[in-house]
């Protein structure tokens, strides 16, 4: 009897389940291999830790951007290909203001205004790190959000609002056009050169930091250094993500956003002012995108007009992986993508690490076509 049952179950195995099994098997094998590498000391434990840490850092800025992409999808009902260039907009506008303020008296106006397009205004000389100019850096962050919001609202007014009821495909195609227009407008002002705009990050040892509050650390932690720019990114991103969560769950606006992503027609007849919800969606989504762009530059040190565009594929992967339209899914997807592109470095060279992320996405989608968190929660 039992063997008969077993055979039945095997023959009933669908292709999806088979792919899921292979996926789990693959992850299992890689996990075992990871243990082997560490035990044989071929992979120093410290390096594994730093891969994981980098994975978390990457997933946080991907996640910040993914929230907006997911919201536009669930509330405005289209895949917004200009979202990446909103990230770029935030990066350029925020750092321009940081330079304008931070570089007063150090560099001439045009170098500051055009964000070093002429190669002047060395970041070190301008003092572009969080310890030398904390207020300037924070101001830049706020401006990055504000300018990106304004640009997004302007684009909505000029382009998307006219197409509100045109359906997802015309809007998607329009957004590709918007993406290109936005990016090359930025290039028109700032040139296409990649350049360093942030000074090397202060990297105090952990012991120094905790000494400020009068604590001592065990020896193995004390000598670890911490990259303060990365720390700024992590703290800002986490705070914003928690903020969005609280907003969505506990405020009237957040609830109406979830309601509208559930059912736009019902929201309309319930008396929810849908245009106001759309306005809020742009403000939150593009604000977070702008902040993400600004923080990425803070972490990486360099800025380029392709910043957001190149990131967009990973963001889409995260959003789709988590179940498109769900922001919690998007955040979980971001974590998976961020960890995958970094942990895959154990086995493959860094030029190829995005292959791992997209392969994983494809396999997961065959296994669960609606994403990991589909049907769990919208928005």
């Amino acid at each position: 009897m039992s063997t008969g049952n077993g055979r039945d179950r095997l023959s009933n195995l669908t292709a999806q389940e088979a792919v899921g099994g292979i996926l789990l098997l693959g992850i299992g094998i890689l996990a075992l291999d990871l243990i082997r590498l560490i035990l044989l000391n071929e992979l120093p434990f410290g390096r594994l830790l730093s891969y994981t840490w980098n994975g978390i850092v990457d997933s946080l800025y991907i996640g910040l951007a993914a929230i907006g992409l997911s919201m536009t999808y669930s509330i405005l009902r289209f895949a917004n290909f200009s979202h990446g260039d909103l990230i770029t907009t935030g990066a350029f506008s925020g750092w321009t203001v940081a330079y304008l303020i931070g570089g007063i008296g150090v560099a001439d106006l045009s170098s500051r205004l055009l964000l070093r397009a002429d190669g002047g205004a060395q970041p070190g000389a301008v003092g572009m790190d969080v310890l030398s100019a904390p207020l300037t850096i924070v101001l830049g962050l706020i401006v990055a959000a504000l300018v990106t919001i304004l640009v997004a609202l302007l684009i909505d007014r000029l382009v998307y609002r006219r197409l509100r009821d045109a359906g997802g495909i015309p809007l998607l195609i329009a957004s590709v056009g918007v993406a290109l227009a936005l990016r090359y407008l930025i290039a028109f002002v700032y040139t296409t050169d990649t350049r360093i705009v942030v000074a090397s990050p202060p990297q105090p040892e952990l012991a120094e930091l905790v000494a400020i509050v009068g604590l001592e650390l065990p020896a193995f932690l004390a000598e670890r250094t911490i990259n303060l720019h990365e720390a700024t990114l992590v703290i800002s991103a986490l705070a914003l993500i928690v903020g969005v969560h609280l907003l969505l769950q506990y405020t009237k606006l957040g609830k109406s956003m979830r309601a509208m992503s559930d059912n736009k027609d019902l929201a309309l007849i319930t008396g929810i002012p849908t245009e106001r919800v759309i306005f809020a969606t742009w403000v939150i989504g593009s604000g977070l995108a702008g902040v993400a762009g600004y923080l990425i530059v803070l972490d990486r040190g360099q800025i380029t007009i392709n910043l957001g565009w190149f990131l967009l594929l990973l963001i889409f992967a995260a959003v789709i992986l988590g179940g498109i339209g769900s922001i919690y899914g998007a955040l979980a997807g971001s974590l998976v993508i961020g960890l995958t592109i970094n942990l895959s470095l154990v086995w493959i060279p860094s030029d190829l690490n995005e292959i791992a992320a997209f392969t994983l996405m494809i396999i997961v989608l065959i296994f669960r076509p609606d994403g990991l968190f589909s049907g769990v929660e919208t928005a």
């Binding site: 609830k255 979830r258 027609d265 019902l266 007849i269 008396g271 929810i272």
Partner: protein, 234 residues
């Protein structure tokens, strides 16, 4: 003067005209039913009152205001509540959040109204935190009605509330509607279950191909030989 006075209403979807000169009135506190064959435009009347169709002519006066051209959030403000036939709750929101959305246009959710809805539908009270999408069809229907009642509308429009309900729940649903009406809310009901609807209502309309065919007291329509034969299956 009637609470709702629809006259000579022409409306449809895109270029397709569905309603051709529909007349309809609902008085304060009255219970009015629209019956008729599939495709007669029963639901379209309700959608048109809410401005969700393509308006082609005629007038819709509610409580003294010509509401044609109003935005849905303004129509709600005048005192019309609407429960559409399908997808009438927000599935990922909790029961409580669904009701809160019903009172969106108010600055604050009035505790008294919440209590009134919970009194009417105790099951909603028990399941405040449950996601609406995980409730049964009958419970969702009650939630949808509760949501529409949050603003204490003068007129409640219900589009086929008994559709998809188990037979033993249909009677219960009609009882609930009676109760709502007894408490003074005018009801405009569209129903497939024409006999039961006509039995319960004050007045009924028979709509055929987007036009008024008969209009009379519910019992009179039920008793009319022609109506029975053509629309009520004998």
């Amino acid at each position: 003067m009637a609470l709702l006075d629809v006259s000579e209403l022409d409306a449809g979807y895109g270029d397709l005209q569905i309603l051709e000169g529909v007349d309809l009135t609902v008085d304060d506190g009255e219970y009015v039913t629209i019956v008729g064959p599939n495709g007669a435009g029963k639901s379209t009347v309700m959608k048109s009152i809410f401005g969700l169709t393509n308006y082609m002519g005629g007038s819709i006066v509610f409580d003294g205001n010509e509401i044609h051209g109003y935005r849905p959030e303004d129509i709600i403000q005048t005192g019309v509540g609407y429960v559409p036939q399908n997808d009438n709750v927000f599935p990922s929101l909790s029961v409580m959040e669904n009701l809160e959305m019903g009172a969106y246009i108010l600055d604050e959710v009035p505790e008294s109204r919440l209590e009134a809805v919970f009194d009417r539908f105790p099951i909603l009270d028990e399941r405040r935190e449950q996601k609406a999408g995980t409730m049964s069809g009958g419970q969702q229907q009650m939630l949808a009605m509760g949501r529409a009642l949050m603003l204490e509308p003068k007129l409640l429009m219900l589009d086929e509330p008994s559709a998809g309900l188990a037979p033993d729940l249909v009677d219960d649903m009609f009882d609930r509607i009676d109760e709502i009406n007894d408490d003074g809310t005018a009801v405009l009901l569209v129903e497939q279950n024409a006999k039961e609807a006509l039995r319960r209502c004050d007045r009924g309309y028979v709509l055929v191909q987007g036009q008024n065919r008969y209009e009379d007291d519910g019992d009179a329509l039920l008793g009319d030989e022609q109506v029975r034969q053509d629309f009520l299956g004998g």
